[in-house]
């Protein structure tokens, strides 16, 4: 299944050669379960489900109509209902940043928001940043600077960095900005580290992540 394909609501676990190769028997086992069981897994069912809610999401420039249990987080909607698995579930509590996406251009943790709260809104995930081999400048920079080791946090790091650079261009200060009244703080290593502190990398690729962000921002690395 092509992740960039336009869908209206489709089955979250359609099996293709690619998903079988990537996920092995897990996907096959899950595909044997009824639809309701899959949805329940994503929301940790407990008690009778409430009537589903309709939501229209603009994801990476394409419109998706979904009918969801209101408990479905935006992260689970992306991963379980739209097969956009680039956004990762790390802690599922807003502590790690692996699920960072951009809503109307602003970075957020999509594990801590409900899909139904974003009806009509425009969402950009890691899948929407580059196109095929034509990578986003931050993706290129992460490759060139080895800004990862295991890669689990990387899509969150890159989406977060896109949002961070936009914030910086708009003059957003940070906790380490010495003078809050200056129009825009220079992106020093300390500024980048503070502004990216919501993204944890347990492989500790931080020096390379900082270097990649500096390259993408056009700063000397």
């Amino acid at each position: 299944m092509d992740e960039n394909e336009s869908h209206t609501e489709h089955h979250p676990f359609d099996i293709t050669r690619r998903t079988v190769i990537e996920t092995g028997t897990t996907a096959l086992l899950l595909s044997a379960l009824p639809r309701g069981a899959l949805a329940a897994g994503a929301v940790d069912d407990n008690g009778p489900p409430q009537p589903p809610a309709k939501v229209e999401l603009q994801i990476n420039g394409r419109s998706h109509s979904l009918t969801l249990d209101p408990r479905t987080t935006l992260l689970d909607a992306l991963r379980e209902h739209l097969a956009l698995t680039g956004s990762k579930k790390g802690c599922d509590h807003g502590q790690c940043g692996a699920c960072t996406v951009l809503i109307e251009g602003r970075r957020i943790n999509c594990c801590l928001t409900l899909a139904v709260m974003h009806d009509g809104e425009s969402i950009t995930t890691i899948e929407g940043l580059g196109e095929g081999d034509n990578l986003h400048p931050l993706q290129t920079a992460f490759v060139e600077h080895d800004g990862f080791q295991c890669g689990y946090c990387t899509s969150g790091q890159i989406c977060s960095a896109v949002g961070m650079l936009a914030e910086s261009r708009s003059g957003m200060p940070s906790y380490v900005t010495a003078n809050l009244t200056q129009p825009a703080a220079e992106l020093t290593d300390m500024e980048i580290r503070e502004r990216m502190s919501g993204n944890i990398c347990r492989c500790a690729a931080y020096p390379n992540i900082v270097a990649a962000i500096k390259q993408a921002a056009g700063l000397p690395t």
Partner: protein
């Protein structure tokens, strides 16, 4: 998460009317509420989404202050040029809290209403009088490194986690609300949060269905504004101790001083007598000690958090030295 119904509010009045129903919760940024719902610390049967109500403006007030809508995001409030120029302590406190992603979602009203990060409050297998009244407090004799040294009780020693509220306490902010009958009320921030006493489950003076609509800031008081946060890592961690200070001094003499503390109690902690003791005194160690003694009157450690008593003293010293440096 327990199942719930979801509804988007189209007016503040309707949101307030709906919020009166037992089991109903208002959701705005959701960064704390959904976290707690996933752990079943919060189990609402209905959510009212207020995100699209027109409460997202920052406006000048006629007296030279600011009125901040309840839905203004933490990042937008921190970045507002008026806040950065006139209320630097508030901008800095907001930027000290959480992460950029969370600040982009979290709201002014929701920040005031966020719950404690006490480990036992978060763990539904443990006793907690705040989560489950009458079940006991596991923190009193448990791991209590992050807990209160002031204003606690035998029922609860949780702390309020907000940085923003600490700065607002130093600025004498006021919380504006509306109730289901449509009546507006103004609550001074000093009276907004409550100490635990025997009812730690009651955390604010809000009544059933009452919704925060705005926070107003009076004109900024004279002086240098500083927010200093001491924590276990340099960023993205809750305060062990934090101080919001506004100090007006000249030639080594303090004219007036205000300081509010985070991480010490279930509400931003401010001791007017301590501030009065500093007014008119020379900016030196003896004066700072006198002020710290007054702040820490009645302070009590529970083992793991004993270090907060000297840490509070030192942090206040550091902040007063910084703000009175000539």
């Amino acid at each position: 998460m327990k199942a719930f119904t979801y509804q988007r509010a189209d007016t503040t009045a309707r949101a307030a009317a709906a919020a009166v129903k037992p089991g109903t919760k208002i959701i705005a940024g959701g960064t704390n509420l959904l976290d707690l719902m996933k752990l079943q610390v919060e189990t609402p049967s209905a959510l009212i989404d207020i995100n699209r109500l027109p409460l997202d403006k920052i406006e000048d007030t006629s007296d030279g202050g600011l009125r901040v809508g309840a839905l203004v995001r933490n990042s937008d409030l921190a970045a507002d040029s008026r806040v950065r120029q006139r209320y630097g302590v508030l901008s800095r406190a907001l930027l000290a809290g959480a992460s950029a992603q969370l600040r982009n979602k979290a709201t002014t009203g929701g920040n005031l209403l966020q719950r404690t990060r006490c480990y036992y409050f978060y763990d539904i297998t443990k006793p907690c009088n705040k989560r489950s009244p009458g079940s006991g407090c596991a923190a009193l004799a448990g791991f209590n490194r992050i807990h209160a040294i002031l204003g606690g009780s035998d029922h609860c020693i949780a702390t309020h986690p907000s940085d923003m509220a600490v700065a607002m306490r130093a600025l004498d902010a006021k919380v504006e609300t509306v109730n289901p009958e449509g009546e507006a009320r103004v609550i001074p921030i000093a009276e907004f949060h409550r100490l635990p006493g025997k009812t730690p489950e009651i955390e604010t003076s809000l009544k059933s269905g009452e919704i925060i609509t705005a926070v107003t800031l009076p004109p900024p008081p004279p002086g240098v504004q500083v927010y200093r946060k001491v924590r276990d890592r340099a960023s993205y961690a809750f305060a062990l101790v934090s101080v919001a200070a506004i100090v007006d001094s000249a030639q080594g003499k303090i004219r007036s001083a205000r300081f509010a503390f985070g991480g010490l109690a279930q509400k931003p902690w401010r001791v007017p007598q301590a501030e009065q003791k500093l007014a008119g005194t020379p900016a030196n160690t003896a004066s700072f000690n006198t002020a710290a003694n007054a702040v820490l009157e009645g302070a009590r450690g529970y083992g793991g958090n004993d270090f907060k008593i000297p840490l509070t003293r030192r942090t206040l010293h550091g902040v007063l030295a910084e703000t009175t440096r000539t």
